[in-house]
């Protein structure tokens, strides 16, 4: 069964193995062209384009003529659902003895 001392030894072994391949200090101190910096510029340009596109969309929306409708002339778009077939029959009173239009008697 491993003990804490075994753990310490295992870490010591790991350290010894890794420390054999440490890159030279000078290499770590050299400034290399950073991919991050390049990416930062790409992001900045993308953000700028987004802002410009957003502003132009907003401007187009603001420029659109505003159509105002008075409340009396407004019709609900679902009005047609209330119109049943032969609705006229429901709104008129049938008359008896009155000849139909187009008949002779």
């Amino acid at each position: 069964m491993p003990s804490p001392d075994d753990l310490r030894d295992a870490f010591r072994e790991l350290r010894a193995a890794e420390q054999r391949h440490v890159p030279p200090f000078r290499r770590s101190m050299e400034r290399r062209p950073s991919g991050r910096r390049r990416l930062r510029y790409t992001f900045a340009i993308a953000a700028l384009l987004l802002v410009v596109a957003g502003a132009s969309l907003l401007q187009r929306r603001l420029m659109r003529p505003v159509v105002t409708t008075s409340i009396s002339s407004w019709k609900a778009p679902t009005d047609f659902l209330l119109q049943t077939p032969n609705a006229k029959l429901m709104k008129t009173v049938p008359a008896f003895g009155v000849p139909k239009r187009g008949t002779s008697s």
């Binding site: 804490p4 295992a10 890794e18 391949h21 101190m29």
Partner: protein, 167 residues
């Protein structure tokens, strides 16, 4: 600190710093080198300043850890924005690694990041729990709890691995 003095201190601590960078980058050698270089530049350019509130090594390790975390966050954002797939893990290939080292690395992979950090600072870098807590920016009590739990968990995993190996 003068630049020459700073560079000389960094050079002295370079092997330990590289070991810690490897740990912060889940043993990805290339990543560790990048993180270490970025950390050194931060220090040399004065973006990270040593205020003397802890030992230089403790502070340097905190800078390396923070830089690694920033880099991972940045990579995650980049992957989301550019719809990149996550790169395959490139763990450091230690040619002369023993069976015990490999078992330890597997066990370290199985515990949480915080636990791994505490236990590596104590066992690998010979720090006290207090120094480890300072490097990680956590309380001593919290570091002690992580240390005890990680030690217990590592021993249990290693014992299980040994049992399987000898079965």
């Amino acid at each position: 600190m003068e630049r020459a003095e700073l560079e000389s201190t960094l050079e002295t601590l370079h092997p330990a710093s590289f070991g810690w960078a490897l740990s912060c980058c889940r043993r990805d050698r290339q990543e560790a080198e990048e993180v270490l270089q970025m950390s050194y530049l931060k220090i040399i350019e004065g973006k990270a300043r040593f205020a003397g509130r802890s030992s230089f090594k403790t502070w340097l390790f905190a800078v390396i850890r923070r830089t690694a975390l920033e880099r991972f966050r940045w990579q995650r954002v980049r992957r989301i924005v550019f719809l990149e797939t996550s790169p395959p893990a490139r763990p450091d290939q230690i040619l002369e690694s023993s069976e015990r080292t490999e078992r330890l690395l597997r066990a370290l992979d199985a515990i949480s990041r915080r636990q791994r950090e505490v236990v590596e600072l104590v066992f690998y870098h010979d720090m006290t729990i207090e120094e480890a807590a300072q490097s990680l920016g956590i309380s001593i009590g919290s570091a002690r709890v992580h240390y005890e739990r990680s030690k217990r968990r590592l021993l249990a995993i290693l014992q299980e691995e040994e049992r399987i190996a000898f079965a």
